[in-house]
Amino acid sequence: MNASLGQSEAVLEATDLTKIYGSGHTEVVAVRDATLSVARGEIVALLGPSGAGKSTLLTLIGLILPPNEGRIVIGGATVFEDHRTQVNVRRYRRQHLGFVFQKANLIPFLTAAENVRLAMEINDHPSRAAKRRAMELLDYLGVAERAEHLPSKLSGGEQQRVAVARALANRPSLILADEPTAALDSVRGRQVMELFRKVAHEQNAGVVVVTHDHRALDIFDRTLEMEDGKLRGSSPAHVN
């Protein structure tokens, strides 16, 4: 299936993705023939037990690891096909993708605002514009008053909000989040999930969230189940 930007509102189309670790007796198939599509403004939950291959699938979509097989189209552009990456991976990541992980992974020697600015400055945004947008994003996420604090001085929830701000900095078309609420309590976890929903709907970005938290599934437009490396179809979130 080939999808182009003009034909579809899909921001992500991944087809028959397979990832195998090791070889011979030690071979492990982490993801097998996974196909998924995410539309602009859609927030999708990726569910499944530990070791099901959710995080691996996210790293394949995020161009962090190359799949052994399959094709990835993001924003209408084919980025992986025929065992080869079709784009400059790092440039593509900084321009089109946003990442949020279980840990905020903020650079410890930069303040909250600088962490957000950094994502823009490495994408060649002028310093002054980056500074202004960083403050806007921190304000949007409710942590503007903590802008000049180092990550070590922020709470877990605040750090995760800053990480979300960093992921949004370059107005990515696709945001990938790997268990972003695992280290947060249920209230703050729900707040972060709602934030993703807000971002998806307001900024027209596709959001894929790997999560174990079934209490917040009502936030998602759609859920996907994974088990033993296989995607088990999809269903609208309200059904679950």
Binding site: S55, T59, I64, L65, R90, R91, Y92, R93, R94, Q95, F99, F101, N105, I107, P108, F109, L110, E114, R117, L118, A119, E121, I122, N123, S127, L150, R166, D178
Partner: protein, 403 residues
């Protein structure tokens, strides 16, 4: 946004301590070069300052600084008769060690050929040149003597009438200047008992030969002072310094004097080369090798420091790669820190050295040429030392963020 400066700000204490440690190491490297320069300067100081075109010394010796040289004082008169010679003067150099205030005081005694040479060419910083034929001395201030101070050498007491600055012998001992006769009196001083024993031996030797037995007055004369015995020559001097007439090539005079069978002659440059080619050369090589080792050690330590700093940031580097940072951003972080560490270490080395080197017992001479060279070396080792960290950083996979 400069990541290197922000990382340093975040780990400021560690960076400062590391910089000081590296600075101290570089200060030793700097000091080694300074000690070598000091050695050369001390070795050639007198040759450069004494204003002689030729040095005439004992046959087949290398001059008064390299080994013992003894020539008769009348050599001055013989040389003065050589065509093209403007002046000649005797030179005495000997090193003595005396106790002063319970501490050893080493002095290189230099004899000046009074009255032509009163030490007016010396860098006198207090007092004056020699004003009389005996019992005055000009001392280097490093001997910590004061003007007017009186010291006893041999059987006479000398008054300090002038102080020089930075006048030391090739072996690093402080110099003191006397008239030639006074320097000889100090050099050849014998105790009363030694004089009595020598006279007695002389008397005994004279009594065993026919002349002594047949001429009782000869035996009587042997009991008198050595200077009154025509059979004994006057006390030897170390060398004769020759100044040629304006427009005369010193090599022409050298060619004439070199034919004499009892002396060797060197130009000032030749004497300088002899000094530098002797013990200074060995010291230079020794210091050079030690300096090279220190530079290598500094490089290895810097590499380890930078590698450790990089290891501390592996997760952050992986994150930077994951969010799409170019390699240049990451290399810049490591390289800028390396150069900052090296640069600030160099500044620390310079300022601590400026404060510490003057307190060294021997001269440490830091010249701009050496400073520039070391600065280049520091930049070089900073870049080389960062390579280990750079290689590590380049190998980091963005997926390590997930680990």
């Amino acid at each position: 946004m400069n990541l290197a400066s922000r990382d340093i700000r975040h780990n400021f204490g560690r960076f400062v301590l590391t910089t000081i440690g590296l600075g101290l190491l570089l200060m030793i490297v700097m000091g080694m070069g300074g000690i070598y320069r000091g050695l050369v300067q001390e070795a050639t100081l007198l040759v450069d300052r004494v204003d002689a075109d030729l040095w005439v010394v004992q046959k087949d010796t290398r001059g008064p600084f390299a080994e013992i040289s003894r020539v008769p004082p009348n050599l001055e008169d013989r040389i003065r008769a050589v065509p093209g010679v403007s002046s000649s003067r005797g030179f005495v150099s000997t090193t003595i060690q005396r106790e002063r205030n319970g501490r050893a005081m080493r002095i290189t005694v230099q004899g000046l050929d009074w009255p032509e040479d009163r030490g007016q060419w010396l860098p006198i910083v207090a007092g004056r040149a020699l004003g009389q034929a005996h019992y005055e001395m000009i001392a280097d201030e490093s001997l910590k003597l004061s003007l007017g101070e009186r010291l006893k050498f041999a059987k006479d007491t000398y008054t300090v009438v002038g102080l020089t600055r930075a006048m030391s012998s090739p072996s690093g001992d402080s110099m003191a200047f006397f008239t030639l006769q006074d320097a000889q009196a100090i050099q050849f001083d014998l105790s009363g008992e030694a004089v009595r024993l020598e006279r007695s031996a002389r008397y005994s030797r004279a009594g065993r030969i026919d002349l002594g037995r047949s001429q009782p007055q000869v035996i009587e004369r042997t009991l008198g002072p050595s200077s009154q015995l025509p059979a004994l020559g006057p006390l030897a001097i170390s060398a004769v310094l020759v100044k040629v007439q304006p427009g005369v090539d010193p090599s022409q005079v050298k060619a004439i004097v070199a034919q004499w069978p009892d002396v060797s002659v060197y130009t000032a440059d030749g004497q300088r080369s002899l000094l530098l080619g002797g013990f200074v050369d060995r010291s230079r090589r020794q210091l050079g090798l030690f300096r090279l080792l220190l530079i290598i050690v500094s490089g290895v330590i810097m590499a380890l420091i930078l590698y450790t700093l990089t290891l501390d940031k592996i997760h952050d580097i992986a994150m930077l790669k994951l969010i799409g940072a170019r390699n240049g951003v990451i290399l810049g972080l490591i390289l800028q820190q390396a150069l900052l560490l090296g640069g600030l270490g160099y500044v620390v080395a310079y300022y601590i050295g400026q404060w510490l080197f003057p307190a060294f017992p021997r001269r440490v001479v830091i010249i701009p040429q050496d400073l520039w060279m070391l600065a280049g070396v520091v930049v070089g080792i900073s870049v080389l030392a960062s390579l280990l960290g750079v290689v590590k950083a380049l190998r980091v996979e963005p997926s390590e963020v997930l680990a």
